[in-house]
């Protein structure tokens, strides 16, 4: 997939700063997300990956310039930004445990629940569970609900934060397939620690360290360069197939 020609940017982030109290978490992050394919946002723990996603959709206090298809969105409220076309899948799934699976979905679109075609296509496991309380689902199923509900709406861009964390190996593979499928129609900005998965589906990578972008480029090139991955991420891709 890495031979897709670079497309025009759908999202550009320029000089993004986030401060929490006294700590300066993002210190001028700048990068573009192409209008197609998967862009992976990588980095060690605590460097600001989640914060970057949150800042983009307005869940973190931010300064800088963020444009979605040329429109500045950095001063908009979260709900506006989301309705403007950015879907967000948070780090901890954050399904509404007290609501049923169906209600979780209808929250986004009152007319479409588990019977929506996209659910049947991507998450057949959920179809029969419309009336189950989302809180009693297993971790993997919750991850599906979390993904499914953003897919009900047409998005220009999806922000997805560590979707495979805590999932059983089999589910990791399944989720990777789903993401690859989704990426056919919608560009993704994906935070991921699982490098094999990155290698499998990502086109571009952005690496953050200490609140700044330290690398920006082709995914395959990074993964293929053990010295570079070691320098940027502290690991090399030696364990083929281990996930």
């Amino acid at each position: 997939m890495n031979d897709t020609p670079p497309a025009a940017a759908i999202l550009s982030v320029a000089d993004l700063h986030v401060r929490y109290g006294g700590s300066h978490v993002l210190q001028g992050v700048t990068f573009d997300v192409p209008a197609t394919g998967v862009t992976a946002l990588l980095g060690r723990n605590g460097v600001g990956k989640t914060t970057t996603l949150k800042a983009i959709i307005g869940l973190a206090p931010r300064t800088g310039r963020i444009t979605l298809r040329g429109n500045e969105i950095q001063s908009q409220r979260t709900s506006r930004i989301v309705r403007g076309g950015i879907g967000y899948v948070p780090e901890d799934r954050e399904v509404f445990g007290g609501l049923t699976v169906d209600e979780n979905l209808r929250l986004v679109d009152p007319d479409r629940g588990v019977d929506a075609p996209v659910v049947a296509k991507l998450f057949p496991d959920l179809v029969g569970r419309g009336d189950q309380q989302a809180g009693t689902l297993s971790g993997g199923q919750q991850q599906m609900v979390s993904l499914a509900r953003v897919l009900l709406r047409r998005n220009d861009l999806l922000l997805i934060d560590e979707p495979t964390k805590g999932l059983a190996p089999k589910l990791v593979t399944e989720v990777a397939d789903v993401l690859a499928e989704v990426a056919r129609t919608t560009p993704l900005l994906l935070v991921e620690q699982n490098l094999p998965l990155v290698r499998r589906i990502a086109d571009q990578v952005v690496v953050i360290d200490a609140g700044r972008v330290v690398h920006h480029g082709d995914a395959a090139a990074l993964v293929a360069d053990p010295a570079l991955t070691r320098e940027l991420l502290g690991v090399s891709m030696r364990r083929k197939g281990a996930a």
Partner: protein, 294 residues
Amino acid sequence: MSDLLLLLVTGLGLGALYFLAASGLSLIYGLMGVLNFAHGVFMTAGAYAGWLTMSDLPQSLPIGARLAVAVVVAVLVGAVIGLVVEVVLIRPLYHHHIQQVLVTVGLSLAGVAAAQGIWGADPRPVETPAWMSGTTVILGARLPNDRFVYIAVALMLLAGLLALLRYTRLGLVIRAGVENRTMVEALGIDVQRTFTIVFAIGGAAAGLAGVLYSQYAGAVSPGQGGSLLIYAFIVVVIGGMGSLTGTAVAAVVVGLVQQLANYYAASGVGDLSVVLLLALVLLLRPSSLKGASA
């Protein structure tokens, strides 16, 4: 026999009043995690609004009509106050539950004092339709008519609120927002507006409770809402913190227990019956009190 019937009906009436007072509280607590100490002031505001409306409308109108208008005005005033309080005081403190609660404590102090400053500390008489203060004799018991009104209104309110939460989109968003406000926002839903609406509904329920309670008491006074609030709190706790149905059941139980204890038990027991009831629930079913974590 006729005594028992009388006690049961008035006990139910009392339970209905408690539910009216507690419903808004329970709604706001259950959905927003804000224990609204200003709820008593909301009720007082409804009561005064009703009283002012009744006396300002031309006396030539039949009293029933004036009361109906007064109820509508009280509900509106309650809703507007709820709305303003949410937007001005609650919303900016959004991640700080305790502070939200504290602001309502301040409001309850200031509100009662303001009413006292404007209308005086003394109770003011409220006109009541003759029918409401009359009685209907059934099986030898003189049953006060107004109690039937309270019971009917309470039932309608309960049904209405349940339907709202269960069957409307607003209800769905509210239930989701209770669990995780940020995530609702991140799904593109303007959650702030929803919570303002919740507060307004709670305020409206308080306004309704206030005007009906002033009919029951035959007077309005600044501390009136507050005196009902303590029962509303207990009812909400026994009912399981934020469950409307639980609140309704608890209101009825508290009303009946209080009424029966006051008649059949020694004076001291009647006095403490509600507290004893709470202690009993606590000892027998502590888990029912843990409630939704807020």
